[in-house]
């Protein structure tokens, strides 16, 4: 362990530098032209036009991207460890769709829902979606093949998306729903961040605390029990963490598949299979990835914004294919 721990700290520092670099890029690049000095001025509280743009529009939005990337990556990592399934991802396994459906129903019933309400609906929906998929998964003794889990996820997602759409048509609220589910991090405000940042940060911290237990669980159920783990209790905790992280991500950006899938795999290639390393690294790499993706979305066709969810989906496919071809084999 010790031999691995040392390189890990170096790797971790490197990735943190990478994150800062992405953050820097995200700040400087964008529809409005700003310089490095503008970024500095904005941080120290200048009130010129560029500083304002940065502080009010770009900072909150990039912070949101960072948080969402971290949250999704960590929740993906936990899911993969917990289910011992290389294809686990909140978008693939019904959480996102569940959150969508709950959101639709909430908006239909309470048209003037505030942000707390939206968030609550997202958590609830994500929990229901995940419970259904995992319920199906655990209904079978001795775990579940990743393949079936993905299919169950696909079916449950289709169902919840249909519910969301049906509710949208029936109550004529499609437009309001789509505003929440398809916007990416555009227009994130400090108010939203004030609510969500603590939730995500606490979620990630608790994940770090539980990471050792997760490692045991990821090896095998028997090992974990043998080493005195209260498997069920740990699983419940982890499950709640997934819901909180993924749910808040959905409340912030809407639908975003593949991030939670990709990042843990990339991270595993760097730091190995110990979740004490995977979780912090996922948080950092996930954040950096989303920052870059959002920056790309903003600059590719500026000032028009390419939706980041779409970019991620397109970038995610090759990755998914590689896992299916190579990495996934051992699990199937």
């Amino acid at each position: 362990m010790n031999r691995q721990a040392k390189p890990f700290s170096i790797k971790f520092i490197f990735s943190c530098v990478g994150l800062l670099g992405s953050l820097f890029l995200a700040m400087v690049l964008g529809a409005a032209d700003v310089s490095i000095s503008d970024v500095w001025l904005a941080i120290i509280g200048d009130t010129s036009k560029n500083s304002l743009i940065l502080r009010e529009i770009r900072f909150p939005r990039e912070l949101a991207a960072l948080l969402v990337g971290s949250a999704l990556a960590v929740s993906g990592a936990i899911m993969q460890g917990m289910t011992r399934n290389p294809l686990a991802d909140p978008g693939l396994l019904g959480l996102t769709a569940g959150a969508n459906a709950a959101l639709a129903i909430a908006i239909a019933l309470v048209p003037s829902l505030n942000y707390y309400g939206i968030m609550a609906a997202c958590f609830l929906g994500a929990a229901i979606g995940a419970l259904v998929v995992f319920g199906i998964a655990s209904a079978k003794r001795g775990g579940f093949s990743p393949f079936r889990l993905v299919l169950a996820g696909a079916a449950v997602s289709t169902f919840f998306f249909a519910v969301a759409e049906g509710v949208g048509i029936y109550f004529k609220v499609s437009k309001d729903i789509s505003m929440w589910t398809a916007g990416g991090v555009i227009g994130t405000t400090w108010t939203q961040l004030q609510i969500i940042t603590p939730v995500i940060v606490i979620g990630i911290v608790i994940s770090l605390v539980l990471s050792k237990q997760l490692t045991l669980l990821s090896l095998s159920e028997e090992v974990a029990v043998g080493l005195g783990q209260h498997t069920f209790k740990i699983k419940v905790f982890l499950f709640i963490l997934i819901i909180i992280l993924a749910g808040s991500a959905v409340a912030l950006v809407g639908n975003l598949a593949f991030v939670g899938l990709m990042i843990p795999h990339i991270v595993r290639a760097i730091v190995g299979t110990d979740y004490r390393f995977i979780i912090p690294m996922s948080a950092v790499v996930g954040g950096a990835f989303m920052l870059l993706a959002d920056t790309l979305g903003r600059t590719m066709n500026a000032p028009y914004e390419t939706p980041v969810a779409a970019l991620v989906a397109v970038m995610g496919l090759p990755f998914f294919l590689i896992i299916v071809r190579k990495g996934g084999r051992a699990f199937l």
């Binding site: 529809a31 502080r55 505003m179 555009i186 000032p303």
Partner: protein, 308 residues
């Protein structure tokens, strides 16, 4: 029903009599006066060739865009698209009209329309033709006022439409002069709308009052808008660059249920237009049309806000 028909026919005959001389001028002569039925028809020279339409339509279905045009000529509408239906300013004319789409053939036939108007891109045109004469227009093919003249010809009220157009143009130009005199010749105006989380800025022919501001009043648009939005008609932008697209005056066509967080930012609040109170907010659901009813409302809106 029969009574109503009888009455209708009577009314038709009377109106036809009154209009027959006018029809000569507008060169759309009634071809077949009446064959077997008692209803008069005229031939309208549409985009796709001549179409025989009722001379005095009483049950019109408008499947997109043109509800205001038809209502402005006091022609009864029995079915209408959802966008027009949700425009509060059309309530007076459309409160009894059914909301329909080009898919709702059954609903449409239940409405027993005598004329169907829509866009050339709509679905099911062939089957709609079996229900009633269908006239389609290609959006933007003719300018916004000519459009009204065309609808006027179609509804056998060409003169009325033409009169309104002439009058409206004169009044717009007049108002434009007044506005320019008040705010100055070189002050720019931009028209901005929020939809979902995206912001849009518009060129000179994309409804929302753009025709009046730019075409009639000839108010200048900001250079940036000219460069990006004029050709396409509309341009989506990021909140970050919004200030660059805001003119000295801004018409904000606002979607109440959209994302309005951009209005809370200092960036927005610090633009000259906002600081000086030169942003005029309109309700998007009332503003994104360019039919006579809406145009009148827009003209009033501009007069009221620019000249107050």
């Amino acid at each position: 029903m029969k009574k109503a028909l009888l009455f209708l026919t009577l009314a038709l005959v009377l109106i036809l009599g009154a209009c027959s001389s006018k029809n000569e001028d507008t060169s759309t002569k009634p071809e077949k006066e009446d064959t077997s039925k008692d209803t008069g028809t005229i031939t309208y020279e549409s985009e796709n060739g001549p179409i025989e339409v009722p001379a005095d339509p009483q049950r019109v279905v408008v499947l997109s865009t043109y509800a205001g045009h038809v209502a402005a000529l006091d022609v009864p509408i029995v079915g209408v698209d959802s966008w027009s239906k949700t425009n509060p300013r059309f309530d007076k004319y459309l409160k009894d009209a059914e909301e329909v789409t080009d898919e709702d053939l059954e609903k449409i036939i239940e409405l027993e329309p005598d004329l169907i108007i829509g866009l050339s891109t709509m679905n099911n045109i062939d089957r709609l033709k079996e229900i009633a004469p269908v006239v389609t227009f290609t959006y933007g093919k003719v300018d916004y006022l000519t459009q009204q003249v065309e609808i006027g010809k179609l509804l056998n009220k060409g003169d009325e439409a033409q009169d309104w157009v002439t009058d409206f143009q004169a009044r717009s130009k007049e108002a434009g002069k007044e506005i320019k005199a008040k705010i100055g010749d070189d002050k720019t105006v931009s028209v901005i709308e929020n939809f979902d989380k995206q912001l849009y800025v518009y060129g000179d022919n994309w409804a929302r009052g753009t025709e009046i501001l730019y075409q009639e009043m000839e108010l200048p648009m900001p250079e940036k808008v000219k460069a990006d939005a004029l050709k396409e008609g509309y341009f989506a932008l990021s909140t970050e660059v919004l200030p660059e697209y805001m003119g000295d005056y801004v018409i904000l066509s606002r979607n109440g249920d959209g994302d309005n967080s951009f209005m809370e930012t200092e960036t927005y609040k610090n633009t000259p237009a906002v600081k000086e109170g030169h942003v005029f907010e309109a309700e998007a659901s009332e503003f994104y049309f360019n039919d006579p009813l809406t145009l009148e409302y827009q003209l009033e809106f501009f007069k009221e806000h620019f000249l107050k």
